[in-house]
């Protein structure tokens, strides 16, 4: 009986574990280890970097990241903007889906309508302040008012298929970063016939999505691995150098480093514990993630409404020390609210190089500012709560560092409030139940407004309720200004107003420490939108 039982078990094991196949360390396969998982491949819903990376491996939008990190044509082969800047006409190239269907202008129209129809995560990207696509704000308002959208409503959206190969998009205002925006996954095309057939299952598995990009997906096991093969139907297939792409999913940084050493992966993200070990290694590289970590002060707290108190807090933080000796992950001190590497001026300069530096470390000046602030408040001591999520690494390390830095000031007491990210945002911040909250923001597109709009009086994420009419009116001008240089200057002015008043206290720009195979060339890494583009990789 026991013998039989064990034999049955062994047979079961053998059956389930069967299917041995070797995976070689050859130059035709590129392997990328991700700490996170692919959550979703539906461009209407996908919202995280890992999903974007996988999605762009298989799908190209009108525009896409170029080899040098700028934006180039994808499915579009040329574009034209009308003189008033409100009509964008894209001519599409002869691209094909992996089932042989041609990629048509209607695939874009369908995909964009679908986002509103499904009330997906990203309809806000179409609205005023971002893409400014005609009719989008009205549709968004209807969704907000919980009204159902009719086909007529959807057709009012400013996107039209003039013919199979011509797409016309109308905006309500000139959007200087429109082309760059079109490389963002929510603007990707969707094959209508295929998506309707898949229904709810669209984008949920390797065989429920079509490719028009450099690779096709052959396998996707959540929590484990995703595999891709070179797409022969891709319009630039001859330029794709690797035959196979493997994304190892949810790998611990320590394990990823071991995999890298064993030659099983070409790209691994490591954590700060491992940085000292590898930092002299040739394969060690810091990359920017584009996220700004900052402190949100609650301006409704009378102590924090005092500018000198906020100045004291900002001056008390040794940002360089935090980045280099504590985080050790390639993060760098933030000198303003718009991170570096996000956006390039019409003159070709980075925003940060053109704007001022608003942060510095000076403990004496911090104490002086606090003393001044306390005098103005008529208090000898104030207590502030510092709210942070323990589930959003490295917020805990960051918050502890801040606690130490602030506790060095006489007359300031810090109480730590540890909670979860969700609770921090949707309960504490939303209900104003916080004094200082450590938080972060990632860019949606490569323009400074993706950060600057956070300080608008009516912005949903302005939980500290800072309000400045001058700032609001400059931002309105930014929206309508047609001259790119003037617009750029307005944004620099806007940042100065918010930083002089410290409505937010920027601390650091998040980086990632990675190990990268030195033989690999042309992995495109971007801080905005799709983080990694594999199309040009050669090994």
């Amino acid at each position: 009986m026991k013998k039989l039982f064990s034999m049955v078990l062994c047979a079961m094991m053998a059956l389930t574990l069967a299917g041995c196949g070797g995976s070689g360390d050859d130059s035709s396969t590129y392997t990328y280890s991700s700490e996170l998982d692919i959550k979703n491949l539906d461009s209407a819903d996908a919202e995280d970097g890992c999903s974007f990376t996988a999605l762009h491996a298989i799908i190209d939008g009108l525009m896409k990241p170029a080899k040098d990190g700028t934006t180039t044509y994808g499915i579009a082969k040329s574009s034209e903007v009308s003189e008033d800047g409100l009509t964008h006409t894209y001519k599409l190239r002869d691209a094909k889906w992996s089932n042989g269907d041609p990629v048509t202008a209607n695939d874009f129209v369908y995909a964009w309508h679908r986002i509103f129809k499904n009330k997906g995560n990203y309809y806000y990207m179409f609205c005023d302040g971002i893409a400014n696509i005609a009719g989008a704000q009205e549709l968004s308002d209807k969704i907000d008012a919980e009204q159902d959208l009719t086909d007529d409503d959807l057709n009012s959206l400013g996107v039209k298929a003039v013919d199979d190969k011509t797409l016309e998009v109308t905006t309500t205002t000139r959007v200087s970063f429109f082309d760059e925006l079109m490389s963002f996954p929510c603007f990707y095309p969707v094959n209508e016939k295929f998506a309707e057939k898949q229904g709810d299952k669209y984008g949920k598995s390797a065989d429920s999505i079509l490719a028009n990009g450099a690779f096709t997906m052959t396998k996707w096991e959540p929590g484990s691995v995703a595999e891709f093969e070179k797409n022969d139907k891709f319009y630039a297939a001859k330029d794709v150098k690797v035959d196979k792409l493997v994304m190892k999913l949810v790998q611990e940084p320590k394990v990823a480093a071991q995999s890298f050493e064993a030659g099983e992966t070409d790209f691994a993200i490591i954590n700060s514990d491992l940085v000292d070990k590898y930092k002299k290694d040739e394969s060690f590289k810091n990359i920017s993630e584009g996220f700004l970590f900052y402190i949100q002060p609650n301006l409704e707290n009378s102590d924090l409404a005092n500018l000198n108190v906020r100045k004291a807090l900002s001056l008390a933080i040794n940002r360089k020390d935090l980045c280099e000796n504590v985080l050790k992950d390639g993060s760098q001190a933030a000198s303003g609210f718009v991170p570096s590497g996000l956006s390039i001026s019409p003159e070709g300069k980075d925003f940060r190089d053109e704007a001022d530096t608003y942060t510095s470390y000076d403990k004496k000046a911090a104490q002086a500012a606090l003393d001044e602030g306390l005098k103005e408040l008529g208090k000898s001591e104030i207590t502030l709560r510092l709210t942070y999520g323990t589930d959003e690494s490295p917020m805990d390390v960051f918050a502890t560092y801040l606690q130490n830095a602030f506790s060095g000031l006489k007359g300031l007491k810090i109480e730590m409030v540890a909670t979860t990210k969700q609770d921090r945002i949707y309960n504490k911040q939303k209900n104003g139940d916080f004094d200082l909250s450590v938080t972060r923001w990632g860019p949606d597109y490569g323009d400074p407004t993706t950060y600057l709009t956070l300080a608008l009086t009516n912005n949903n994420n302005n939980y500290g309720h800072w309000s400045n009419t001058e700032f609001d009116s400059i931002m309105e001008k930014v929206n309508s200004e047609t001259d790119a240089n003037a617009r750029w200057q307005l944004m620099i002015d806007a940042e100065k107003i918010m930083m002089d008043d410290l409505c937010y206290i920027p601390v650091f720009e998040k980086g990632t420490a990675t190990l990268q195979n030195t033989k690999v060339k042309n992995l495109v890494i971007k801080a905005v939108g799709v983080p990694y583009t594999f199309e040009y990789v050669s090994k």
Binding site: S6, L9, M12, M13, T16, L17, A18, G19, C20, G21, G22, S23, D37, K39, N40, D42, D45, A46, E47, K119, N121, Y123, Y124, I143, D144, A145, E146, D200, K204, E221, P222, G223, S224, V225, K248, V250, Q251, E252, K254, V255, Q258, S259, E261, A262, G263, E264, D391, T419, T420, K421, Q422, D423, I425, Y426, N427, W441, D444, N460, N461
Partner: protein, 314 residues
């Protein structure tokens, strides 16, 4: 099987079902009281959040949600994932993860028990010799080192330095990539089983009926395997059940280290992202497995030793 045994099993089954229902109810409430929400994209507007909540029925009162959940569950529908794997069927996610965890658990228990029993019997037969000491030291080390530390150690040795085995699980190379995690998991089993077997064997070997059997002139093999080991096994089986269940729940860290897409890893990730349906399905499965194991163990006592009566009426 006698009538009383069947009656006993029936009674236990009914109790088990009630227990499961209560567990599910408590779980459901606990999950709902977790701070935050599964919809945690800070960029969503309040109305967009409300729309998503309505889509998943999260806007209904909790009792309504619970009744609906039970109704769906009885038809095999465990709902969809809210944000971990957006809109994917939980049953298929949990199913494939549980299959892997179960295979790992069973393999670890089988390997661990065989080696552990061997070590235990060996130590008992060579009581108070150097062999006994070596076997005991092995089991003490096995009990003291947590399985994930052991996993890290063998990962470093076999995968990183010697490059004999892959560092992480891969379904296209399942057997080879499963060796390390299963080995790591079985260490604790080996140690526990060896200690128990040794203690039991030592006491059985010195008992009077063994002297009698020896006096009857039975050969050594029959003595050890038929008389001594069989009696010594009962307490070992008692601990096997909890060990198996612990293995299934305790695989979490090993799964994380060896990148195995198992149940433990899924549960941790779902808790971190408040993915209610996955948390519920995983925890419910754990509870069900635990109760089922306990039932199996109770019944198996009677088979191994007929003197243990399950019913009251004899």
């Amino acid at each position: 099987m006698s009538n009383s045994t069947l009656k006993y099993i029936g009674k236990r089954l009914v109790i088990s079902l009630i227990t499961l229902f209560v567990i599910l109810m408590v779980l459901f409430l606990m999950v709902k009281f977790l701070p935050g929400s599964p919809i945690n994209n800070e960029k969503l507007s309040a109305s967009a959040r409300a729309a998503i909540e309505a889509q998943y029925g999260l806007d209904k009162p909790i009792p309504v949600q619970f009744v609906r959940y039970i109704q769906n569950m009885l038809t095999g529908d465990f709902g969809v994932s809210f944000n971990l794997y957006k809109d994917m069927q939980v049953s298929s996610l949990v199913g494939s993860a549980a299959k892997l965890s179960m295979i790992y658990g069973l393999c670890a228990v089988i390997i661990g028990t065989v080696i552990g029993m061997f070590l235990g019997v060996f130590a008992a037969l060579h009581k108070n010799t150097i062999w006994d000491t070596i076997a005991t030291v092995i089991s003490v080390i096995g009990v003291s080192i947590p399985s994930f530390v052991f996993a890290m150690l063998i990962l470093l040795l076999f995968a990183s330095k010697l490059r004999l085995l892959p560092t992480s699980y891969s379904s296209s190379n399942a057997i080879k990539s499963s060796i390390m995690p299963i080995l790591a998991l079985s260490v604790g089993v080996i140690a526990n089983v060896a200690r128990f077997t040794r203690t039991e064997m030592v006491s059985v070997l010195t008992s009077e009926y063994m002297t009698l059997a020896k006096a009857k002139g039975l050969d050594r093999k029959t003595l050890i395997f038929k008389h001594a080991l069989r009696n010594a096994l009962i307490p070992v089986i008692t601990i096997l059940g909890p060990i198996l269940v612990n293995l299934m729940t305790g695989t979490m860290v090993v799964e994380k280290i060896c990148s195995v897409p198992g149940l433990g890893k899924l549960l941790i990730n779902s808790i971190l992202s408040n993915d209610y349906n996955i948390i519920l399905a995983c925890s419910f499965l754990y509870a069900a497995m635990y109760i089922f194991m306990m039932l199996i163990i109770d019944i198996s006592y009677g088979i191994i030793d007929p003197r243990i009566r399950l019913g009251k009426d004899d």
